[in-house]
Subunit: 249 residues, 2 copies
């Protein structure tokens, strides 16, 4: 259903037992997916992995080989369970240590760096060899880019600030345009004609996302394409289909 991506692609790794526990919803993935879509970089896969080194390393290596960009969220703070930077260094097989530029940036966050930039906080200046820093205007501790992997904080406000700092520097793809139409009928009545519309518009990816509310079943039909004319034609066909389905038999 999904057309082959002609341009850059992205994947995300959300790191943390807390998201996996189900108690905290991951707000960063939807935020990033929408920000990337606006740049024409589709999110093609997302994973949530636990705070376990070998799992993080394996996910980084699997996804960086497959997608143009990999974004990580979480595990770059000062506590003992923050192991993302070490895992990314291990995935690339490079060294890691406190870097002076990162230490200098961190120091600007404290009134008395000699006292406040303690051993735990200095962990946040540990940067893999060869990485470029990602600016963090909220709380200073930088993220970093190593190869095609962009390592960012888990706290949503910091994550969003890092995305804002990072994205303008990435090459744009061709934005995927999308339009949708809501049909208040069960998918089983929509599916037959919808397949015909989808087959007649091969340059448009057409998905059906069913919902149920108190009024019964319905579906949002979403059409996506990089070609505005093809999208308009598909939407016209979908509107015609919806009108026919709504007409009395």
């Amino acid at each position: 259903m999904t057309p082959v991506d002609p341009g850059p692609t992205a994947a995300m790794i959300t790191i943390g037992d807390e998201i996996l526990s189900g108690r905290t919803q991951d707000a960063n993935m939807p935020f990033l997916a929408q920000a990337l879509a606006a740049k024409g970089i589709p999110m093609r896969e997302a994973r949530v992995v636990p705070d376990v080194a070998e799992e993080i390393v394996a996910a980084v290596n699997a996804l960086r080989a497959k997608y143009t960009h990999v974004f990580t969220s979480g595990g770059i703070g000062p506590t003992h369970d923050d192991i993302t930077a070490d895992c990314v260094a291990a995935a690339f097989g490079v060294g890691i240590g406190v870097r002076e530029d990162a230490r200098a940036i961190l120091a600007t966050n404290y009134a008395d760096p000699e006292r406040d930039l303690n051993e735990a906080r200095l962990r946040m200046a540990r940067i893999p060899d060869g990485a470029a820093l990602i600016d963090n205007p909220v709380s200073k501790a930088p993220g970093f880019t190593l190869g095609n992997v962009h390592v960012m904080a888990g706290v949503p406000r910091v994550f969003q600030a890092m995305v804002a700092a990072l994205l303008p520097g990435l090459a744009d793809g061709v934005p995927v345009l999308s339009e949708s139409i809501r049909i208040d009928l069960p998918e089983g009545r929509i599916a037959g004609p919808l397949r015909l519309v989808a087959e007649a518009h091969p340059d448009v990816s057409i998905g059906s996302y069913p919902f149920q509310n108190d009024g019964g079943f319905g579906a949002n039909i979403v059409a996506r394409s990089t070609d505005p004319a093809a999208l308009a034609e598909a939407m016209a066909a979908l509107r015609e289909m919806a009108a026919l389905l709504a007409a009395p038999a």
Copy 2:
């Protein structure tokens, strides 16, 4: 940080471009993670994959080899983009076709099955060879279990009903107990003593989940263990640590 799992484990695959687009938040993963946790089956990994057959097949095969249970959500409806059942059959290398028991269940959903059980709807009775059906009290169309893979609907109300039908039949693990304490200090001040507490309580997994709100930075410290006594000892140590940190210097 995360202890080795002594009992059953779980992973989830959420299928659908719509979740990957960021427009729709995945409510099924958090719901399932919490339901499984209550049974002592920890969620160890979650993936969101697009509506692309080879991606779905690869994720199913990677995760079913690694975890006790794999749960999928989405892509089992009647429309052309619902390809999950075929992909799971392909992952296991088994056939798939309309099964009479599934067709009979589906038929009960329609006043006039001869008329209403159209070709598209019959797709929902296509079940891989050897699978057991999962009851769907909401809208009849069943899910299924093949090997250790449990295939369920994406619509949250239907997904939740299928989870309720499925979970009582799965063997319980040892529930992981968790308690948390909120500390309204930046992680950089917590991290040093927290590491000592974590090292002193190796049977307890202690994670720090930072947040930022208008009052500044803070962290929820979450302790998890299958051993109630060990958890109580760790929590006592965490409370003592928090009191010391809050005391004036």
